[in-house]
Symmetry: C2
Subunit: 140 residues, 2 copies
């Protein structure tokens, strides 16, 4: 799925939910579809601005909330940083953060997921969502 297709998919998801695609939102969807990293609201605001879209920071926040509510994007909050956002297509994953470089790597572990479910089940719970972050450093 290329960027344009991805942006289009986001747009469709919103339209389906009855959410209006304004010029500002279209621009943000495009910026989000292009993001390979995990940008925060302010970075998205700057990227959209640079791309020529006249968007205010307040609208960025409001749009991100709407997109998150529709399950189109995910909010991730790392320690001591403003919230970041990532497209929610692709499969579930967790994050590994290099504490020296700041680099973020995504990873999946079926086994960890399963263990988590087991631990919750033992106490009579089912998992609604979870958050797993590994703060790491390159080995010497």
């Amino acid at each position: 799925m290329d960027h344009e297709a991805r942006a289009q998919a986001f747009e469709n998801a919103l339209r389906r939910a009855g959410i209006r695609i304004t010029r500002q939102r279209a621009a943000l969807l495009r910026v989000l579809a292009l993001a390979e990293d995990h940008p925060d609201a302010n970075q998205l605001f700057h990227r959209a601005t640079k791309a020529g879209a006249g968007v205010s920071l307040a609208t960025v926040y409001r749009t991100l909330s709407a997109l998150e509510a529709q399950g189109v994007i995910l909010k991730v909050e790392f320690e001591g940083e403003p919230a970041r956002f990532e497209p929610a297509d692709g499969k579930h994953h967790d994050h590994m953060i290099d504490v020296d470089s700041g680099e973020v790597t995504e990873f999946v572990s079926e086994r960890i997921e399963k263990l988590q479910a087991e631990i919750a089940a033992e106490l009579g719970y089912e998992i609604v969502r979870h958050r797993l972050e590994l703060y790491v450093r390159k080995k010497p």
Copy 2:
């Protein structure tokens, strides 16, 4: 270890680090030693105040930072809430949060810890710290 002994242990750790035990800090250490839950700065402020200690919120924050820097307490940040604090004696554990009641349960999984280390190692990393939270709901 009873509460008083725990408070004493905290105090010793601070003294060892050359940190002065003021009336305010002593009071906060006592409140922290008593905490069975995971209170935030504001709750600690109220508990200390109720206990008759004249402490300001600014001092609560400054003291918590000092205690955290000394490894005496840990800061835990759950989604959408102010930071909470817990005594750092006892062994490492992760948290399970009941999304309906807010109840927090601590748990440990050697197997998950090990899998995390393996995943990091595969990419040439070692884990500095990690954060794992399960947001759960009672099964029907």
